[in-house]
Structure formats: structure tokens, C-alpha cells
Subunit: 331 residues, 2 copies
């Protein structure tokens, strides 16, 4: 079953991606998922579904070695690419069939998931691949939102250690993004300024929460972070849409992003983390109120019932302390 | 530092509860927190802050043994009880000082955290203590919301295995509750019915997602659950406010709630879980649109970057499968 179901109280869509006769799949210890050779390593290209895209030397064929960044469909997709969008009611509830894309971006040939495995140039290639996947998938008008994210470490949800990011394209705009858009629109109506532009300016002026700053980008610990050592990274100038990023901007971003992750890894001894790229929805690409950004969330503490129950996070680390520690760590 | 800070984009309040010179507290392995005798066991009453309330035999003094349910302040509170509410701006941001209550409800004298440790009568006593704490704390007009929740197992955020719940009273209504209230109000305006009443009726009629049903309560796997084996438990009749529960209703709830937890424990081999009690905010106790309920969320899967990034959950277990499994498990 691949189905999108909507919670009738808070309008939250949930993907039900169950497999017949495997109702207890989640109880299986995660170790089992990792038997056998790594499907993301060069030489094992036949262990993934056929590749969607790759950066590889001219003359090498798809699904052979030689690539430096490679994109394949997720073998266990949360959503499936084939089919039309159908919406229906079920009693008092709403459902939609589970159409979408779920891809894996294999970031580099090396199996080692430490930041220093990839240099700045290679980091730029990964970001460029993100851009190309956005542009390609935006052509499919069934999709309303495309999210790129990374889970690093088992605690953060990674089932394989080989460095990889994921992409999910969904037929609805996800709830968290809707909330951000709503908040950003309200702020814009009130002040005629982008709230993210104001935040970037405030953080650069104050400087007590910044981690890495370049001409074009700023990485900082946000004023009200949910998690210890949470970091946001955003363009300093107004940019609503990630996929319009230029080659120069990608080079700059690669430097800031990689150094930020490196500082985090050094400061906290290679912590598990997630990052996710928030950009404007497919159908409102150019706008004055929203500003693409990356949220990096280390997974250092368990989220408790209080946080689930309220959306009210308790963070034991002051953001100013976290930022100064990240700035001071030796690289 | 105990401070409430507001995210300027999505209006989410975060509690910054840091301690001077302990900026890396969260990196300490959780095992360390558990050295020494259990402070919640009878005979160790001097190892907790002085008790706030207890059910104990007449003639026994506070902070002595003999109690069967005992409430103490949290030794490491997220919010502090003393002080006035102050709101202020800080650059483009909003802050409030961290006023609130953070209590621990020690559920029973026994150290064993399995459901069968407490019988139905004792379970009723725990629920009655919840009610009494709500009523007591609602008198403090600095508080806008009171949340009772339980973390069971280390993965769910429990730092001590002795059965306990927690209570946090906050000077703002938490975001998740605001969203539920907003959704419930919109539904009421549209249909002049409570959305939770409609859900309870639908679930009882359909019966394919129910787990335990009594005269007064229904426990079911919701139509769009975020997590495998998530369960909601609610009164079948419209009740906006938990603390108005009667003794008869508590007895009925104790039966349904305990059996639900027992089925969950048997089905999934004592899983870590959270539960939380959602009720109306302190200042809108009686209303037609909101309906108190308990959300039980087993912690079987890691939450990944996709879920954090989008609020869009992927659940690999169909709720109908989970419910039928829970109904069929032998007790």
C-alpha cells in the first residue's frame, strides 16, 4: 500500500507505505538491513535500480563505474513514480494515492561518511546534482514540492553508511513548509520585507551566533533552535528558489556548507545529523517573501513526549554557546 | 539560563534551559545519569526535592514511605516556578523568561516499568493524581497550558526506569495544541460538530482500527498515524477538559488505557513509547469544538530528516494491520 492520508484535525498528510504481510517490518533490528556488499560502492552498480543521472567521464556507460556522483531510485520508495493522482474520501477522511519520486543521491565513490572524504570541489558537484534533479523533477506537474535531505548516522535514520542524500517529490506541499510559507507571507504583508533576509542581516550584525560567513552565505545557530547545535545556512541576498543557484554561488556554498559540517563533526566527534533543503514550492518559484535555506539538525538528544506532544522544544544548549564553540574548534 | 524564545518564521516557542559551563551536557552518555540508588523508590524520599502531593495512608508525613503515588518537582526543570512573566524584544526576536512548572509524578512504589506492575485500581489512582495536579496548577494564572506526558524507555527520553510521568505548565499555549485548536474550530464552524466526536463515531462504526472500546472510551489506531502502532484514546461523548473527569469515568478510563498499553507491550515486546494528554488550554476550558484525548506513540523507528524537514511522516505499517494485530494479541 502506498497511500497519502490526511489527519482531519491538523491537515497533516502522512504516507502509509506498508507491504503486504510485513506489518511488523519496523520491529526488525536495523542491523539486518545491512548484510552484503555496499550497493552504493563502485563496482556494485547492478545492486541498485538503474541510474537516473550521474556525473561520469565521457564515454562511460550508465550503471558502470567511473562516476563521481550518481542518482538512483530508492529501492524501498515511500512513494511510487507511476500512476495518476487520485483523491478520494473514506468516511470522514481524505486519501490520495501515493504518487511521488523517491531518489538516492550517492554523493561520492568513497564509502567513508566523514565530511573530509569529499573536498570542496566534490561537495560542489553534489550541490550541482541537487540543482539538476530539482530542475528535472519540476517538469512533472504532478509534483508540488521537492525536498532534498540527508540522514547521517543510524540514529539520524541512515540505513547505509555510504555517503548519500535523498530526494522526495510529493503531490502536496508538506505541512512544515506550508507553515513557513504562511509565516513568511504574514511577515511580508506586515513589513514588506522577507523575514529570512531580516534574520540574515540581524545575525551578521550581531555575530554572536554565526558559524561561517562568506560573501554570499551565512551559517548560524538560530535564535530559537529546537536542538542543541542546530544550524541554518542561507544566502545573504534574497533568493526564493534553490534551483536558480549559479555556478559561482554553488562554489561559495560548497565552501561554507562543508566548513560548517566539518566544524560540527570536530566539535561533537562525528555526530549523527540530518540536513534538509527548504525551497519554494514548485508552483510558486519566484516570490518576495520566501527564501531558500538549509537546516542542519544534529541528533544528540532523544526527542521526548513533551516535544512530540506540544511542538515545544527544550534545548539545553544556549545557541550563543554552541556558536562560539563551533567557531573556536580547530579544523 | 531559562528562557523562552520564539522562532520568527513559524511562531514556535523553544525553551532554552542551559546551565552555565555545561554547554555540552547533551553529549554526556545517558548511562551516567543513572548512577546511585533510584530516587523514586520508597525509602529514598530524601533524594528528590520535597514532595508537592502524594496519596498516602492517613497519619504518614510528607517525604516518608507508605505513599502509592507521589509528585515532586523535577530536579532538572525545563522551566522554573518562581518569578513574574516578562516579555521582551531582542533585535528582531521575541523572548520571555522561563516561568513554568515541571513536576514528576511517581506512579507507584515498584521500580518495575512494565504495565502489569500496576493493577487497574492503581492505574486509576495515577489518573486521579493527574486530575488533582491540573486543578491545582490551573489556579496559577501565569499558566496558559498544562501538559502531562510519559516517556517510557531510554529511546523515548526516560532517564530513569522507575515508572513516572511528567507535567509541564507553560506560559504560552504550545504550537501543536494551537494547531489542533485551530483545526477543531474551523471544523466546528463548518459543520457545527466537534471533529473528535465525529472521529470517535466513525471509528466505532467502522471498527477496523479500534483496539479497546468501553461504554465511555475508545482506543484506536488513527486513520493517518505518524508512527507505526500509534494509538489515540478519547471519551466517546464530548468532553473538552480532562480535569472535569468523574470517579466513574476514571475507573472506565483506567481499564481501557491499561489494557491498551498492555496490548502494545505484548504485541511489540515492551517497546519504548510516549504518551501525552491533550486537553483544552487553561483559559478556554469549556468549549464545543475541542475534545481531550491521549496520544500514545511507540518509538519503533528513527525519525529521519525527511520527517523533520517536512512534518510529513512515512509510516510503514497500515493502521488497519496494526489495530487487528493489537486486538488479536493474547493478554
Amino acid at each position: 500500500m502506498r497511500q497519502l492520508r490526511k489527519d482531519p484535525v491538523v491537515d497533516r498528510w502522512v504516507i502509509i507505505a506498508s507491504e503486504r504481510g510485513r506489518r511488523l517490518r519496523m520491529v526488525r533490528p536495523p542491523e539486518e538491513q545491512e548484510a552484503g556488499p555496499c550497493p552504493f560502492c563502485p563496482g556494485n552498480e547492478d545492486k541498485t535500480p538503474p541510474e537516473i543521472a550521474a556525473f561520469r567521464p565521457p564515454g562511460t556507460g550508465p550503471n558502470t563505474s567511473g562516476w563521481w556522483t550518481r542518482v538512483v531510485p530508492n529501492k524501498f520508495p515511500a512513494l511510487q513514480i507511476e500512476g495518476d493522482l487520485d483523491r478520494a474520501g473514506e468516511g470522514v477522511y481524505d486519501v490520495m494515492n501515493g504518487i511521488g519520486a523517491h531518489e538516492v543521491i550517492i554523493e561520492c565513490p568513497q564509502h567513508d561518511d566523514r565530511v573530509q572524504t569529499v573536498d570542496e570541489r566534490q561537495f560542489g558537484e553534489i550541490l550541482w546534482m541537487y540543482k539538476e534533479r530539482y530542475i528535472d523533477l519540476k517538469r512533472d506537474d504532478r509534483f508540488r514540492y521537492i525536498l532534498i535531505f540527508k540522514n547521517r548516522g543510524r540514529v539520524a535514520g541512515a540505513s547505509l553508511p555510504h555517503p548519500h542524500s535523498q530526494l522526495i517529490a510529493t503531490p502536496v506541499v508538506p505541512r512544515r513548509v506550508v507553515e513557513e510559507l504562511r509565516g513568511a507571507r504574514t511577515y511580508f504583508h506586515l513589513k514588506e520585507r522577507c523575514v529570512f533576509c531580516d534574520i540574515a542581516r540581524e545575525e551578521i550584525n550581531y555575530a554572536g551566533r554565526t558559524v561561517v560567513v562568506s560573501d554570499g552565505f551565512v551559517a548560524f545557530v538560530p535564535f530559537a533552535p529546537r536542538f542543541p547545535f542546530e544550524i541554518w545556512l542561507m544566502p545573504r541576498k534574497h533568493r526564493s528558489t534553490f534551483e536558480r543557484i549559479t555556478r559561482d554561488e554553488v562554489d561559495d556554498l560548497a565552501h561554507v556548507f562543508r566548513e560548517t559540517l566539518l566544524r560540527l563533526s570536530r566539535a561533537l566527534a562525528e555526530p549523527p545529523y540530518n540536513y534538509m533543503l527548504h525551497t519554494s514550492p514548485c508552483r510558486e518559484s519566484d516570490n518576495e517573501y520566501y527564501h531558500w535555506h538549509i537546516e542542519i539538525t544534529p541528533r544528540l538528544l532523544e526527542v521526548t513526549g513533551f516535544e512530540w506532544g506540544t511542538g515545544f522544544y527544550v534545548n539545553p544548549t544556549a545557541p550563543e554557546d554552541a556558536a562560539s564553540y563551533l567557531r573556536e574548534v580547530e579544523l
